[in-house]
Structures are given as C-alpha cells and as structure tokens.
C-alpha cells in the first residue's frame, strides 16, 4: 500500500508540476545567479475579454467557482452547460482536465446517469476545448462502464473505449495505472475483460494492481528519540515579574497577549516535551522548545474561532445551555431561528428559479442564479449562525457607547466579504471533516485543533486540494478559492436577510404618560455616511445592542502577534522553512503582488539562496535578554502615569469649547470642527501609543530572566527585519534600550573606550574624532554617575540624549565598569553600534568610484569624520551669498538662516528617492522650527531653497546622480517595453516590471502595478472591489522613481549579509538595523575590519556592468514605442525609423571615476 501511494503521489506531482508551470502568468523563472546564462522572457497571459470563463491557476474566476459549486450540489445539467462554456474559452488548455474529471467523478459517484449520454457530453466538452482526453478521463469512462454494463452484455462500451484509446496510440496500462480512480478490484476486472496477459506486466505494476499480496519493505519508522532530553529536564527559569500598570483598552488585545505569555511560565511537568523530542535540537534545549511550542500554538490560536465553536454549539443546542450572558444569547437565538427560516424560504425561491434556468438556459449573471449554488452548499442552520456570528464579531470592536458615537458603523463592503468568507471557510471545514472521516485525508493534528487554528486550517485546506489522489481533491491549488465577487454577493444576500431578522425589544419611559413600555426595533440600520469624503454604506448597530454585548464579548479580537522565541530559530533551508518551529513563515514579506515568490521559489530550488539563508539564520541565532536596569526605570515612569520622553501620559485632557451657534463668522464653525478633530485624534493617538507601550512592556516583563531570539525575514528588496512584532531591536529607542545581548563579553583593552564612543553617538556627537567623543563622556562623568545612581530623581542628564533609553543603558554599563575597578574584565552586555555615514551615498560613491563623493562620505581616510550635511549646507550658503550679491532678495534673507539641520533630512532622503514636493515639505518643517521666518513666506522660501539643495547635492555627488539617472531611465524604458511577439499581436498594456538579481543571487521584482477596481451590484448596495490577482499593468513612473532607491537598498542589504557571514565565521555576535551594525564592545574593531572587507568585496564585483548585462539578456527582443526611445535618445536604426515600435536598447553606463576602493579598508570613520 505504501508503495502504491508513493507512486500515485509521484504521478500526481508530475501532473501538477506541469499545471503549475504552464498555468502561471510568469514563465520566466530564469537564471538568477549568473547573468551569462540565457534569460527567459517574462510572458504574462494577457487579460481576456472573457475573463470570467478563463481558467487561471492563481485566482479562480467566478464562472469556474460557480461551476464547482454546481458540481458539488449535484446540479449536473447546469454544470455541464457551464463546463461547455468554460471549455470554449480555454481551448487547448490542459488545465481543463481537472474540471472535466471533477464533473465525471461526481456524476459517477451520484450513480444517476446514462452511460451513453455521459460519454457523449464529455466528448462534446473535450471537442470544444480541443483536447483529446487523457488517461484519467478514460479511467472514468471505464469506471462508468463497469458500473452500468453487465457481465451478460459483454461490456461493449468498455471494449469500444479501449479500442479507441489504443487507436490513439495510448496504452491501456496507463489507464489502469490511475489507481486513484479505479480500485484494484475494478482494475483486475478490466484486465480480465480485455484479456491482458499478466506476463506483460512488470512486478511493480502487478503489485500496484493488487495481484500479488504486496510485501513492501517494512517501513521502519526510525524514531530518533532523544531520551537524554527527558532524563535531565532543564528547569524553567524562575521568574519574578514586575507589576505593570495595565490600561483599559478596547477589545481585549492585552489579555490575549497575557494569556499567551503565561505559557512561558508553565511548570516543566506540564510541558509537551514528548511532542518536541523529534526535533533536531540539542537536548538541553528541549524544555525550552516545548515551551516554544506552547507559545506558538497559543499565539496563533485564534480566539475568535474558539468563540465561534462555543457559540455554534449554543445555536444548535437552542436554549439548553446558555452562556453567561443570557440576555444576549437569547436574543441571538431568536434571530437565529428567524434567519434560518428566511434562508429556507430563500432556498425555495432559488429552486423555482433554477427550474426556469434549466428550461431556458438562463443568464448566469442574474444574482440569484449566480449565487444560489454557493448558498446551497451549506445548511441553512449554518448559514444563519455564521451570518450572526460574523456581524456580531464585526461590531464588537465598537465596545462602548462613547465609541459608538464617535466611530462610523461597519463598512458594508468589508462585512459582505467577511460573511462570504466565513461561508467558504465553513464549507471547507465540512469537506475536511468528511475527508477525515472517510480516512481519505491525513491531517497531523486533530480536527478540533485545525478548526481553531487559522494557520493549521489553511495548511489542511491546501492539503485537501493538493491531495488529488483521494476522492475530491482535484481543485485549484490557489490559496483563496471563492472570488471576492462571489463572497461579496452571497454576503450581501445573507446580510439583507439578517437585517430583516435582527430585531430587539427596548424598554423606555413614555414621555407623555411616564409609563415604562417596550418596543421592538431593528437592531441594525443600513445607512450611508461620508467617510474620507466618500459616501459609503455602513451598518450601524443600536447603542442598546452594543451595551448588551459589551459585557459578553470580551474576546481578543486580534491574534496575538508573534513573540520572541525561546529557542534558537530553525535555520532557514527553504523559502518557507525556517524561523518559528510550529508555524510557517515566508522568508519574504510581500504586499499584494506575489510574483516575486515564484522567482524566489525557483532560486531556492536551484540552491542559489544558500548564503542568504545562512546569513538570515545567523541573525536569528543572536541571543537577547532584557536590560534589567532600563526596564526598572521605564516601569517606574510607566506606573507613575506621567508622560516622559516618548512615553505618553496616562490621562489626556480634552477641553473642547462649546459649538459656536449663531456665529457671525462661519469660519468659526470650521475651526471648531478642526479643533474637535485634532483633539480627538490626539487623544486617540496618545491612547494607542500607551497601548503599544503597554504591549511591549508586558512582553519584556514576561521575558525577564529569559534568553530569547528573533527570527528574521526580508522585505522584497532583501532588507532584513525581525518577524516578531512589537518588541525587537529594529524598533524605536525605547525597545532598543530594553534589549541587550544575553551573552556578555569582557570589555578588554579598548572596550570601555568604544562604549564611550557609543554613548557620545547616542547624544548626537558623532561628527568629531573618537578621542573627542571619549572626552565628551569623560567631561560629563559626574553627570553620568548621577544618571546611574538617580535616574529619575537626579539631574536626568541621560534624558537630554537623542536616544535617551539607549543612552541610559550605556551609562549604566560604563558606570558599572568603572566602579568595578577593573574595566577590562568587566563583562558587558550592551551592544555597541556603528553607523554608516549616509550609507546610500556611500554605495553610490563606490559604484561610481567617485573620489570627491567618496571623500565626503568617509570612504577615504580622514583625520576626523566628514559631515555631508555640513558640506551641503556650506555649498548652499556660498551660492546664496553669490545670488544675494547679485541682488536676489530671497537669497539675502535666507543666507544667514541656513545650517546643517535645515538640509539634513533632504540630503539623507535624497538617495532614497525623495521627490521635490517631499523635500520641500521637509525644508518647510525645518524652517518652521527656526521660528524667525514669517509663515506666509515659508512656501516661497522653501521652494527656492529646495532647488538650491538639490543643485548642491548634484554638484557634490555628480556621479551618484548620473547613476541614479541611468537606473531610473533603464527602469522607465523597461516598464514601457513589451516582448516582440506581444507587439506583433497588437498588445499595448505595459506589463514588464523591472527585475534584477543582487550579487548574492536574490531575485527582486518591483511590485508596482495598477490594480483595477470594479463595482459589484448586490441586493444591499453596490460594492467596489479591487482585483489584485488579475494581470495588471505596471506603473512606469513609479517603477522608474522607485528603482534607484530599491537598488541601493538591495545593495546595502547585500553588504549586511556579507558582513554577517564574515562575523559568523569569526565567531562575533552580530546584529543589525539596516546600516547600523551592532556587536560587543570588545569586538568593535574586528567587526569594523570585517565590514570594510565586505564592502570592498561587494563593490569589486563590477555591479553596474553586471546589472546592465542582466538587463540586456533579460529584456532581449523587447520593443518600446518609438517616441519613448526618441525621448531618451536611444539609437534607432534606419530600418526601424518608420515603425511605431523599435527594439529596446539599454543605455550605456555613465563613466567611472578614479577612486581606489581599497582605501575603504583604511578609512577610520567609514562606519563610526
């Protein structure tokens, strides 16, 4: 049996692999490491006019989903009609096969069919789709023939089919090999009927067909149980936790978090050590791994689903066992019974409608006709319960009356989709249950767990769809299945019924008589509101309902985010394998556009990403702990409830003046409204900031005395981020101050000095030489000790730092080291940071080998660090003086008002693609801070100044700008280009994104596309939905504008990876925040050498030439419109001069300067 299953899987994999590759809109998964290999071109399937009928493996279209629904409801007449139409639009597409098979499978299992008409229908469909039929289809013919024909008749149809198959040069053995369709009895019967000699079959075939008692090698489940782990359990570190003042927040986010965090302090005998003993971790880590498992499981368990299960029980049991809040449950039960009845009536109505459709092949687009089959997939009881649950869930975030008055209702567009999705989920879980019951599907965990756990559920659904060898698996393997169109429509039907059912009794005092009376009113109103200036349909609940449920629904509404890990993260070995142990994370964070994932899978498959995996794993291996000193200080501030530094105060007072009635100046109203908005926004911000702080503090509190780790992944450009949310080192100063390396190292001879440099940097004194920075700390040593001894009661010197909490941590470490009497042997945990001087510009200077630029950003050795901002400011000032001498008024006003701080933000963001408008706003805010410039002149002055700063930057970094221009030109040309064959076919949409490969082999695709919106008419209102999965055209402007910064980010990420690998080799602790590299104080010098070596190594690779070659290969035979080629002065040959489209030529690279890269190795302040 085992062998048989293996073979089936193998066969299926082959088939699905094919489907996967052919069906995708991306075919180019070409060479990713060496650009010398051939590059396949990117070939998107263009949007079809008849999209609805098109099979698309990424996203199921509406008709296809409708078809499936019809099949599942055994509506074979309609499904055959639909299949015929789908076939018509997907001629010669082999993806049709699974759909035809689905139809046949269900038809045969229903048993209600005529053999001849079945074969006739199938043939007609095959003919329409211009396909010959494959072995699976014939296997179904055989199966049907065996069912409908008898021994006496001699199986004429079966024989005829076999002849036909042989006539088409097929082997009957192929049909028989479809053991997923045919049982072994059926196969043996067919072999007997067709008289196939057994000698012609190989042993394995015989075994497969069940002729011999199969005797496969005993599969020894080798259990590498790690017994030692159990024999010496490591005790869970005993923790005493600090008291942290909790704030009231809506929903119960915090309590959910606390619940998961409780798992950290479970006693060892309650831990699932057995369950984790198969993982490959050192035995000493087993206890922690078991705790990690508990943590991950609870972190991902969705409380909503738990709640749902609980309530569903209640709904089904009726009034029997009511939960705590009897009133609410009774009300819901009332609604439930009524809604169920309404769904029943709706179903009856749909049945009569079908009758009409079947008789005259009605228009499938009529709403009922379209959505009916989906609604019929579930029982009405479930539909009713799910609708109520989903609506209540969506409003339970509005928990208080105050909020109900402030917030808008729930957006209908969101709600309809949510309800539709919940129907889909329910349908899928029903299928899962069924499969599980019949033993067709093996799920690792028990079903209850799967249903309560969204991740496990998704995985199981994937498995269900993938498991094509079992009965009902031949679905699409897309993650999402019902299109948004469908979910929106059925959601709207459900909600409109719900609105009629949801009524509640409200008691009130009659104003005229004073009696208390009761009135039944609808609990919800479907109304419209202006939200962000647009008229949007919303569902508004009654305040009484909110009050009623507020006491009951204290369930966490947001899944607790991923927390730091208690064991070393699983090393990355594949694009989705690594990081957390029990939950899958992708190595890359993508928003919406998922095409990059295909490239990464391919690269990963080919083994091109090993270095990146290693570096990411190394970053995750760094062990962290909470800095107890800063933690205590922060908790003290927090519990006092007062605002200090970045910690917001507990209470924010709102003093809103009364509304101006009968105002002489109507503008008073406007200012009143804006004041009100501002105040409520401020209050909300303070509240959410305080929630955020509380969250982070609670995490820190739970991890006190623990060693923990941050698994990392990347954004689409390769920049690294920790996966854990909230508390991690790539966060604000407060988080960074709370964290330190768990492993301490003695300071050694130079460590203390580096700590001092680090502290001076945190105070913003980073543009003087190292000695002066150390001197700064020595000069303030009395203040330093005061800050350490009395952080809150003393003179608070630390609070004046740019990054106060990190400074506090450094201060404590220095004070302790000095007081220890022997600083060299003092064990230090605080990371020392080294930052690049305007890292983007450093990369540009190296790319262009620009000697002047390199000098300005410290690539070449200097006695003291150069300050780019200062240099730019000086140029701007000298130009202003020149202009002012010529009599320019603006220049003469501005020349005394410019300093480093005014230009700093613009210079910093210039390499990251800041636009003119963005830069102008930065300068406005900087000038505003000075306070000596009249407000009405700010706009004029800043636009004048912005141009100046841009010009100054250009003159200082000429080559950098040439490279920037080259990059954006290339990207613009590429996004306007199309493959030659597309041009021949007359396509005009811009479909080509910019794709490049980093020096470490990481493929990057710019995701900027225009996603189309469409309006769906539902019986509630019309809803606008965005189709993310259709083939959308790219945005050339955005592609071009974003390419230079993205490219530089990909380079700085590569530099980080290379440094990280070197540090790992040298056994140095290494952590990083993009261009800030962290290590122990004693290792700073060594890391400094390594990062310089990595930089030289990276830029010795002729990066620009490689990029150009890659573009030339990748976009070979691409064409662009002639006017664009003209605009960019591309060469146009004489034969192309009268054509509209000309071949795409990648422009020549700008020339390089004479800078000697190896000088970086000697530069003291390259990173400082």
């Amino acid at each position: 049996m085992y062998f048989q299953r293996q073979l089936q899987r193998c066969l299926l994999r082959i088939r699905f692999h094919k489907v996967n590759v052919d069906g995708r809109r991306l075919i180019q998964t070409g060479p990713l490491q060496s650009v010398e290999e051939n590059v396949n071109v990117y070939k998107p399937i263009l949007p079809s006019k008849k999209y609805e009928f098109k099979i698309n493996t990424d996203q199921k279209s509406e008709m296809v989903s409708l078809y499936e629904a019809c099949v599942f409801t055994n509506d074979f007449v309609r499904s055959a009609q639909l299949l015929g139409r789908i076939a018509g639009y997907n001629a010669t597409d082999e993806n049709m096969y699974p759909y035809i098979e689905l139809y046949l499978r269900h038809l045969i299992s229903s048993g209600d069919f005529m053999l001849d008409s079945m074969i006739r229908t199938t043939r007609a469909i095959l003919k329409k789709s211009k396909l010959a039929g494959n072995s699976q289809i014939y296997a179904y013919y055989f199966q049907a023939a065996l069912l409908k024909e008898s021994e006496e008749s001699g199986y004429p149809v079966l024989k005829r089919i076999a002849v036909e198959w042989r006539y088409r040069k097929g082997k009957v053995i192929d049909i028989l090999s479809q053991t997923s369709i045919l049982s072994s009895e059926q196969i043996q019967k067919i072999i007997r009927i067709l008289n196939i000699p057994l000698e012609t079959l190989s042993n394995s075939q015989l075994a497969l067909f069940g002729f011999q008692p199969s005797n496969p090698t005993e599969i020894n489940t080798v259990k590498s149980t790690v017994e030692e782990g159990r024999s010496q359990p490591v005790t869970v570190p005993s923790t005493e936790h600090a008291y942290i003042d909790k704030i009231k927040s809506k929903g119960m986010r915090l309590s959910a978090l606390l619940k998961s965090l409780n798992n950290i302090s479970v006693s060892p005998e309650n831990l699932p050590v057995d369950e984790v003993s198969l993982e490959k971790v050192p035995s000493s880590e087993l206890v922690n791994l078991a705790r990690q498992k508990l943590l991950e499981k609870s972190a991902i368990a969705s409380a909503i689903d738990l709640w749902k299960a609980e309530y569903e029980d209640t709904f089904q049991r009726g009034g029997g066992a009511l939960p705590k809040n009897k009133e609410a449950s009774a009300l819901f039960y009332e609604w439930y019974t009524e809604l169920k009845e309404m769904f029943n009536q709706e179903n009856k109505r749909l049945d009569s409608f079908y009758h009409r459709i079947e008789t005259n092949a009605g228009n499938p687009y009529i709403a009922e006709g379209f959505c009916g089959p989906f609604l019929k997939l579930l029982k009405t009881e479930k539909l009713a319960a799910l609708t109520i649950i989903e609506v209540i869930r969506s409003i339970s975030s509005i928990s208080t009356q105050e909020e109900a008055e402030e917030t808008h209702g729930v957006l209908i567009s969101r709600l309809t989709d949510a309800v539709g999705r919940s129907f889909e989920r329910e349908f899928l879980s029903e299928r899962l249950q069924e499969e599980e019951r019949e033993g067709k599907l093996r799920i690792r965990d028990n079903l209850k767990f799967v249903f309560n756990n969204p991740r496990a559920f998704r995985a199981a659904v994937k498995e269900l769809r993938r498991n094509a060898d079992e009965n009902d698996g031949k679905w699409k393997h897309a993650l999402e299945s019902w299109p948004r169109y469908v979910t929106t429509k059925i959601g709207a039907i459900a909600i409109s019924l719900f609105l009629q059912a949801a009524k509640m009794d409200i008691k009130f005092k009659r104003p005229d008589t004073g009696d208390i009376t009761k009135e039944s009113v609808s609990a919800f109103a479907h109304t419209y509101q202006y939200i962000h200036g647009r008229k949007s349909g919303v569902l508004r609940p009654r305040v009484e309902l909110l009050k009623l449920i507020a006491s009951e629904f204290q369930n966490p509404l947001i899944h607790p985010q991923m927390l730091p890990m208690l064991v070393r993260p699983k090393p990355w070995v594949q694009w989705d394998k690594g990081g957390y142990y029990y939950s899958r994370e992708s190595i890359i964070r993508l928003k919406g556009c998922t095409e990059q994932l295909d490239y990464i899978k391919e690269a990963s498959h080919k083994g091109h990403l090993k270095k990146i995996y290693n570096a990411l794993s190394a970053l995750g291996d760094v062990d962290w702990r909470i800095n107890r000193f800063t933690f205590d200080v922060i908790v003290k501030i927090w519990n006092s409830g007062e605002g200090m530094l970045s910690i917001p105060p507990k209470n924010v007072e709102v003093n809103l003046p009364p509304y101006p009635k009968q105002a002489l100046n109507p503008n008073d109203r406007v200012s009143w409204y804006s004041l009100r908005d501002k105040l409520s926004r401020e209050k909300a911000t303070a509240h959410s900031q305080r929630c955020d702080f509380n969250y982070k503090l609670e995490i820190a509190n739970s991890y006190l005395n623990e060693k923990f780790y941050f698994p990392h992944n990347m954004d689409f450009r390769g920049r690294v981020y920790p996966i854990s949310a909230h508390l991690h080192h790539v966060n604000n100063d407060f988080c960074r101050g709370l964290l330190e390396f768990a492993e301490g190292k003695p300071l050694g001879p130079n460590g203390l000095n580096w700590l001092k440099v680090h502290l001076a940097n945190l105070f913003g004194i980073s543009k003087v030489d190292y000695a002066s920075r150390q001197k700064f700390v020595d000069d303030n040593i009395a203040e330093l000790f005061d800050s350490y001894d009395h952080p809150l009661e003393g003179r608070k010197w630390w609070a004046s730092a740019e990054d106060p909490f990190q400074a506090l941590a450094a201060i404590a470490e220095i004070a302790r080291a000095i007081r220890s009497g022997n600083p060299e042997s003092y064990v230090c945990h605080v990371p020392v940071q080294q930052d690049g001087t305007c890292n983007g510009l450093q990369h540009y200077a190296a790319l262009g080998r620009d000697p002047d630029g390199a000098h300005e950003v410290n690539l070449s050795p200097n006695d003291r660090p150069k300050d780019v901002y200062d240099a730019v400011a000086k140029i701007v000032i000298s130009r202003l003086e020149q202009e002012s001498a010529k009599g320019d008024e603006v220049a003469s006003v501005l020349k005394d008002k410019i300093d480093r701080s005014v230009v700093k933000p613009t210079v910093m963001t210039n390499v990251y693609g800041v636009t003119y408008v963005g830069a102008k706003n930065q300068i406005i805010s900087q000038l505003e801070k000075r306070g000596d410039i009249p407000k009405d002149m700010l706009n004029n002055y800043s636009s004048y100044l912005t141009k100046m700063v841009f010009r100054a930057l250009r003159s200082l970094f000429e080559r950098a700008h040439e490279i920037q221009d080259w990059l954006s030109t290339c990207s613009y040309l590429i996004s306007n280009s199309l493959p030659a064959e597309f041009v021949k076919q007359g396509h005009k949409d811009k479909l080509t994104p910019t794709i490049w490969t980093t020096p470490l082999g990481f493929p990057i695709i710019q995701p900027y596309r225009n996603f189309k919106k469409r309006q769906v008419q539902t019986n509630l209102q019309s809803v606008c939905i965005e189709d993310r999965d259709r083939v959308a055209s790219v945005e050339p402007r955005k592609q071009a504008a974003a390419f230079p910064p993205n490219f530089v980010h990909s380079l700085d990420a590569t530099h980080l990876f290379m440094t990280c690998l070197k540090a790992k080799e040298a056994d140095i602790t290494f952590a990083s925040v993009h261009d800030s590299y962290w290590t122990h104080a004693c290792d700073v010098e060594q890391l400094g050498n390594l990062l310089r070596q990595a930089f030289v190594e990276l830029h010795s690779q002729k990066i620009m030439e490689k990029l150009r070659n890659e573009f030339r290969k990748r976009y070979k035979n691409f064409m662009i419109p002639k006017e664009i080629a003209r605009r960019y002065d591309l060469f146009i040959s004489s034969e192309d001069s009268d054509k509209k489209w000309v071949p795409l030529k990648i422009p020549l690279l700008p020339s390089q300067g004479t800078f000697d890269l190896t000088k970086v190795l000697e530069s003291k302040y390259f990173f400082s």
Binding site: E406, I506, E519, V521, Y659, N665
Partner: protein, 365 residues
C-alpha cells in the same frame, strides 16, 4: 449728506471688452486647485431698474439702510440699487483690480455713501473684518422684532460665479440665513442674488424634482423666495428635472419679470441668469435644526426609494415611526424627493419625540 442720483451706466462703458479678464473672480481658497472662477455681471441697467420697481422693496427699508454688495463688477447693479434704495451706506466688495477704476469713479460721486472695499467677498473673514473695522454697523434684531418684520437696515446683493463655487456659496448662504449665522446674525436679512444656471436650478427645485437637494429643502423650509427676474432657459432646465409622474411641479416660484430671450444682460457669459430674493422666515424654536439636517440628509441619500424604506437610514428601528408619520398626513409610499419641506419638518418633529432615537452622530450639526 444730501443724496444725488447716479447717472445711468452706459452699455458701452460696462461691456466686457473694456476690462482685462473681466469674469475671473479670484477665490478665497488659496490652494493651487482653486483657479479663478468665472462670474458674470450685469450690464443692462434698465432691466435692474425695472426689476427693482416691480419688486416694490423700497418700503421694506428705513433711511438707515446699509447695502453690502459682493462682486459688483462694472457697477451696473450698484448704480441701480443705489438710485432705487438711496441707502445711507453702500459697501462694494470687489477684489478684481480691473473694476477698481469704474467703481472708484462711481463712489466718488456719492458723497461717501458708497465705498469700495478691495476685498474678496467669498471669504467669510472679510465680513468679520468689515464689522471689526466698523465699516459695517448694523443693529441686531431681537426675536420679537424678527417675528414681525424683516431686517429694515441691511440688504445683501451679489453676482454669483458659475458652477461648483457658485453652488457652494449659494447653499451656504441659504444654510446661514436659516441658522442665523453670518449676516443672518443680525436677523431676517434679505439677499438679492444674480444666480447662474446651476445654483439656480439647485435651489429652486421643489417637491417632485429628481434633483431635489438638501439646500432646496432648507430654502423651502426656512427662506421666503421670490424670483424677480426669470430666464426661460433656466425654467426649461428646471422643468426637465421634474418627474413626469409628479403632480407638484407648480411649486416653482413665478418670476416677476421675464426678459425677452434675445436680451443679453450679463457679461461675459450671456447664459441665462436669474435674480432671486431670499429672506429668512421667522425662527421656529420648536424645530431642532441639527435634527432637521440629519433627517433630510439621511432621507435624501437614497431619494428614489419609498419613504417607508428609506426611513431606515435615519437609524436602526426608525421604520417603527411609519404609523405616526402616516397619522400626521405624510404619504409614506412617496419617494423622499416628492416630500415637501413641511413633510420633512413633520418627520423631524416625530423623530425628535421618539424615545428610541439614536444619539446624534458627531459629524452632523
């Protein structure tokens, strides 16, 4: 101060050719999107004189009258108003420098009764500045006075620009007169507006018109309206929007004067303009203005459906009010655009007394 009539403005002096970009009104908002709007101004003084005579407004004012005129253009309407009312004070708010010379010339002949203020009338701040600098000094009517008569010392007149900004200005004027903001602060102030097509059609619609808007309902409820000079093309445009099934099309006010179709009395755009007179009605303290606004806003969101269906938009459970509304004589089978302002008032009163009324949403006043 003796009074001397101004000489009649000659057609040749005031036609658009004499001015640079005559119709461009720079607008109050300074964002880049707000381009100067086109605003026409009157060139035919005979028409205005005739209209004022027909309106018989002179008796409504005492000798202390102050006229505030916005965007007078070449000063034809100003001359006519000045001669007809003989006001104590006539303030011209004009920001287009091309008209400064003719207006200065005009004011120089009035012994200081007429003064040109070179400010933008579209800015609400301009009016508070006028008041602060004591250029505009008017007594405020008490509520008792308002119940008896309109304001006898203040008149506002304006040429309204075309399209969106004209519409915006007009609907704000209607709203502020009703809620006694802006000049309405002083009491029941009368305004005379030369309206181009789009604001005219918007505010004149009554029940049964498919484009019935909040502004139109407000006007009907709180403002007495007269059309002094009508225009056939605007009337035709208005009637196009009248639902053929509706029997209420007669509520459109009839013009006092209908100039011949071929008379071009506005420059630089000749397209039909009408002169309307808007006067606020006495305050009705039994009606909550904010609730009234909420009711018309909610019910006109989906104005085509039957009232009994769209009542739900008012708040959850508002459909329970149907019997009470029916008893009060409102037909719930009608769509909301066929309701009269009185109907809306009735619904508001019933809704206000409903104990289960949703608390007012914050964004509505």
């Amino acid at each position: 101060m003796s009074f001397r009539l101004l000489p009649k403005r000659k057609y040749d002096d005031v036609k658009a050719g004499n001015f640079i970009n005559p119709g461009r009104v720079p607008l109050a908002k300074s964002s880049r999107r707000d381009k100067p709007q086109t605003s026409s101004y009157l060139i035919n003084q005979d028409l205005m004189d005739k209209a004022l005579e027909a309106s018989n407004l002179r008796q409504q004012y005492n000798p202390n009258l102050t006229i505030v005129e916005m965007a007078p253009g070449a000063g034809v309407m100003s001359t006519s108003l000045y001669n007809y009312f003989q006001p104590k004070n006539h303030i011209l708010l004009e920001s287009r420098d091309t008209f400064f010379d003719p207006l200065r010339k005009l004011s120089s002949q009035t012994n200081g009764r007429m003064q040109l203020i070179e400010k933008e009338g579209f800015k609400w701040n301009t009016y508070s500045e006028l008041i602060e600098s004591r250029i505009l000094q008017v007594t405020r009517q008490s509520e008792a006075e308002q119940a008896v008569s309109t304001h006898r010392e203040l008149l506002f007149a304006a040429h309204i620009p075309i399209q969106y900004y004209g519409l915006l200005f007009t609907s704000q004027v209607v709203e502020y007169l009703a809620s006694r903001d802006w000049l309405g602060y002083y009491g029941r102030v009368r305004v005379l507006l030369w309206l181009p097509r789009s604001p005219a059609i918007t505010i004149l619609t009554s029940r049964g018109f498919r484009n019935r808007s909040m502004t139109a309902v407000r006007r009907e409820a709180f403002i007495d309206t007269r059309v002094i000079v009508g225009s056939q093309s605007i009337h035709d445009g208005l009637m196009k929007r009248c639902s053929s099934k509706s029997k209420y099309s007669h509520d459109v006010p009839k013009p006092l004067i209908q100039p011949p179709d071929d008379l071009e009395f506005m420059e630089p755009l000749h397209d039909g303009h009408i002169l309307v007179e808007l006067t606020s009605k006495p305050l009705d303290n039994s009606l909550s203005l904010s609730l009234f606004t909420q009711v018309i806003k909610s019910l006109l969101y989906t104005s085509r459906g039957k009232l009994k269906d769209s009542l739900e938009r008012l708040g959850a459970g508002a459909t329970n009010l149907i019997p009470a509304i029916q008893d009060a004589g409102v037909d719930v089978e009608l769509p909301s655009f066929c309701l009269s302002a009185e109907d809306f008032k009735t619904i508001t009163r019933i809704y206000e007394k409903w104990p289960l009324r949703d608390p007012l949403k914050n964004d509505e006043f």
